[in-house]
């Protein structure tokens, strides 16, 4: 081998970075960009069965890691009760929790949080802020079944929240008043259709959902579905074609007298 160290360094980089690109490739459809930026593992995987099996293993490992993060804490549930379990779960994922009549508990930059809330066995959780957390369907089980008096739930920019997760929110119908879903890449209008169970909802944020095909129309339909709820989201005029008199004027050209 001509340059063994360089080769090994490349290999190590692909080991760590390659997993991201494998998952990235299988996550998003980017047909044009893939052709040029092929990683070393990809190239080798085309020619050797062993490397192909290795890539499949790395992909599976990534999914298993996500599921491990979202597992349910049965032991903690038996010892401390459902509210503390739910709070612990959210704090471990990097979100914030607010118990009733208490302050927000957030993990600091290093992911550490104080363990004071373990004493709050009987205090219900009022609000959960899980923005940007890697919560998925399994994890939402921990929330929706355990936290019965949840009033506000924020799932903004969560990459793994999809339509299945929204269908799991119906146990919170009695108490949930605020739901924020802005920026979730996998939520589509089909998931929004099953929010009709949440009759107590007063505030719903569905702005910036890239998977929704017609944001304006969806906004109207969701408003019809939840008459008592204030729906923030796409402007209903978005997506409408402008009429000929309302075409935007070209400001650079001189205004005709």
């Amino acid at each position: 081998m001509a340059a063994p160290w360089a080769f090994l360094r490349l290999g190590i980089r692909e080991w760590n970075g390659g997993t991201r690109s494998i998952h990235g490739m299988s996550e998003s459809v980017a047909p044009g960009g893939n052709q040029k930026r092929r990683t070393l593992l990809q190239y080798l995987g085309d020619h050797f069965y062993d490397i192909q099996a290795l890539r499949e293993f790395l992909l599976l490992r990534q999914m298993l890691k996500l599921n491990r993060k979202n597992r349910s804490f049965i032991g903690i549930n038996e010892k401390y009760g459902p509210y503390v379990t739910g709070a612990l779960f959210i704090l471990k994922l990097g979100g914030a929790v607010k118990f009733q009549d208490k302050e927000w508990i957030r993990p600091n930059e290093r992911g550490r949080f104080s363990a004071d809330f373990l004493a709050f066995r009987e205090v219900p959780v009022e609000a959960v802020d899980a923005s940007g957390c890697a919560i998925n369907y399994l994890g939402l089980d921990n929330l929706s079944v355990a936290l019965k008096e949840l009033q506000s739930l924020s799932l903004q920019r969560c990459p793994n929240v999809d339509d299945w997760c929204l269908s799991r929110l119906y146990p919170l119908a009695g108490s949930l008043q605020e739901l924020l879903l802005a920026g979730c890449p996998r939520v589509s209008e089909r998931g929004l259709a099953c929010l009709h169970h949440l009759q107590n909802l007063r505030r719903l944020d569905i702005s910036d959902l890239p998977a929704v095909s017609h944001p304006g129309l969806t906004h109207i339909l969701v408003e019809e579905m939840l008459p008592h709820c204030e729906v923030l989201g796409a402007d209903w005029a978005q997506g409408l074609k402008l009429g000929p008199e309302q075409q935007p004027q070209d400001t650079s050209s001189p205004v005709s007298a």
């Binding site: 299988s26 459809v29 499949e56 929204l166 119906y170 209008e189 089909r190 259709a193 339909l221």
Partner: protein
């Protein structure tokens, strides 16, 4: 001319030596030939001393050789050197490893392999599901060779592909059906873990988790309540609603005639069956399953007589080969197989007949046919601007009419199962629009008053692999044809059970018994024992 002949002699040294040897062997023939040709050999010149030598030369240099010599002398070349070199290069390339050298002789890429451990007849959802689970549950990688044979790669008539309404629900009366549905939902939810292929985009199922609403009149209310109890025991999230609750929840429903309603809160809805099929196909191909487009026309079997438990003679058959005929041609390929899986959907009855199932006196096990036949069902798509809103579930009315929402634009899909007397002719897939006018629309308009004004946009027809005995599926081996397994006959809810059934068949093939869900009530023997497995909630 001697100089000429001598020169030509040396040019065609090899050829003439060969020819002279040849002529040495049969000089008589050549002399006769020469005499018969009648052409005088002109040998001008005095170079030839002996007549013997001359005669030998006459014999040796036949007319062809001389003319050949003459023609090369003239410069007209019959050798196309460049073409010969490129042809030679192509032949060498084909012999090198890694290149298909058979294509030089005869292209066989469209034919199936000559041997395969398991042959799955039918490439729809059942066939692909069995192939997937066989490959997933095999003990060593690439231990079994699996071949999937389908007669139409475009799936234009497949019941489970583009023609399907795509609904999935857990509201059945048999606990096994509920368990199968729950497993399918769990599979669909984690579909990107099961069907992950490296470098391919994730499967987008377009699942609508809107639930399923079953309405029951007075006489069916007790059965519905019983069913819901069974479903809840298995873990399905179904709730019962009275007519008042129903009216509160869905104000667009006319609750006249409804005594009880069951509504699935979670894990029910509808999805895009085509993307599931394509995702399965892609994954199964990456696992090493072979595909072939063709029609199975013949089974080569062998029989052996065995004494049964009651002392009577039983004839056990084993399939050794099957013939796969190519489309639009008489070409066929015999495939040696160890196990055959009949997942041919609406055509399973035909395949079973080919294997000799049902050939015998009626009333015996040998004479019991596979009672699966194709039945035509219509699906209509209509537009109704004032119709039910975004929260509409898949509604199944007391009269058997069902509908669901399609997309955001106030379009609805629905249909109805006709009664036995009105069964349409399954010979073609033509749509009968009068059926909608007379049988479907009145019930729709009665149940949802907004549907009194609607406009039908389009309609299509598809086949149900209808089990005429009890409308429930057939799973597992045949008692007499020992290596044929069934995975068919689910009469309209095959799509939601296929994933669980595929796993069950793979378990039977690989381990000999059902391991996860016990599907023994669905075996073939119930047709002989007249044991009906009635499923009441059929759409």
């Amino acid at each position: 001319m001697v100089a000429v002949s001598e020169a030509s002699y040396s040019l065609e040294g090899v050829g003439s030596a060969g020819r002279s040897a040849h002529s040495g062997e049969c000089p008589v023939a050549r002399a006769d030939d020469h005499a018969g040709a009648g052409r005088p050999l002109v040998l001008k010149g005095a170079g030839l001393r002996s007549t013997m030598f001359r005669r030998v030369l006459q014999l040796g240099l036949g007319p062809g050789l001389l003319t050949r010599g003459l023609s090369t002398r003239r410069g007209v070349s019959t050798l196309d050197w460049d073409a010969k070199v490129s042809e030679f290069k192509k032949k060498i390339e084909c012999i090198l490893p890694g290149k298909p050298w058979e294509t030089q002789l005869y292209d066989t890429s469209h034919l199936p392999p000559e041997q395969s451990d398991v042959v799955i007849i039918g490439g729809g959802i059942f066939g692909l599901s069995v192939a997937f689970w066989l490959k997933k549950l095999e003990k060593k990688q690439d231990a079994i060779r699996v071949l999937v044979v389908d007669q139409d790669h475009t799936y234009s008539q497949a019941s489970s592909a583009g023609l399907s309404v795509g609904g999935i629900w857990q509201q059945f009366s048999m606990p096994e059906n509920v368990r199968l549905s729950l497993f399918s939902v769990e599979f669909l939810r984690n579909i990107n873990e099961y069907l992950a292929v490296v470098d391919a985009p994730p499967v987008d199922l377009r699942f609508n988790p809107s639930g399923c609403l079953l309405l029951a009149s007075e006489k069916d209310a007790a059965a519905l309540e019983n069913n819901v109890k069974i479903q809840r025991q298995e873990g399905a999230k179904v709730c019962l609603m009275s007519p008042e609750q129903l009216q509160n929840k869905f104000p667009w429903v006319n609750t006249e005639g409804v005594a009880l309603a069951s509504y699935g809160m979670e894990n029910e809805g509808w999805f895009d069956a085509w993307s599931l099929l394509q995702g399965l196909r892609r994954k199964v191909r990456s696992m090493g399953v072979l595909f072939c487009q063709g029609e199975v026309t013949r089974f080569i079997t062998s029989s052996s007589c065995v004494e049964g438990p009651n002392g009577e003679e039983m004839v056990l058959k084993r399939i050794h080969k099957l013939h796969v005929k190519m489309d639009k041609s008489l070409e066929y390929q015999p495939v040696e197989c160890a196990i055959v899986i009949n997942a041919a959907g609406a055509w399973s009855g035909h395949i079973a007949k080919l294997a000799g199932i049902g050939k015998g006196p009626p009333g015996t096990l040998q004479g019991t046919k596979l009672p699966v036949e194709p039945r035509k069902r219509y699906v209509y798509l209509w537009h109704c601007p004032q119709g039910p809103g975004l929260e509409t579930p898949l509604v199944a009315d007391t009269s058997g009419v069902y509908f669901r929402r399609e997309g955001l634009g106030s379009n609805y899909l629905g249909g109805c199962s006709p009664t036995e007397e009105e069964e349409p002719d399954p010979a073609n897939l033509e749509v009968d629009h009068d059926f909608f006018q007379n049988k479907v629309w009145p019930h729709l308009a009665q149940r949802v008053p907004a549907f009194q004004t609607l406009k039908v946009q389009s309609a299509w027809a598809g086949y149900y692999d209808y089990n005429t005995f009890d409308q429930n599926g057939v799973v597992g081996p045949h008692p007499l044809v020992v290596n044929m397994y069934f995975a068919t006959g689910f009469s309209g809810h095959g799509l939601q059970h296929a994933l669980g059934v595929g796993r069950a068949v793979a378990e039977v093939v690989l381990e000999g018994e059902f391991k996860t869900i016990n599907m023994s009530p669905f075996l073939f023997t119930r047709f002989y024992l007249e044991d009906k497995l009635q499923e009441y909630n059929i759409l």
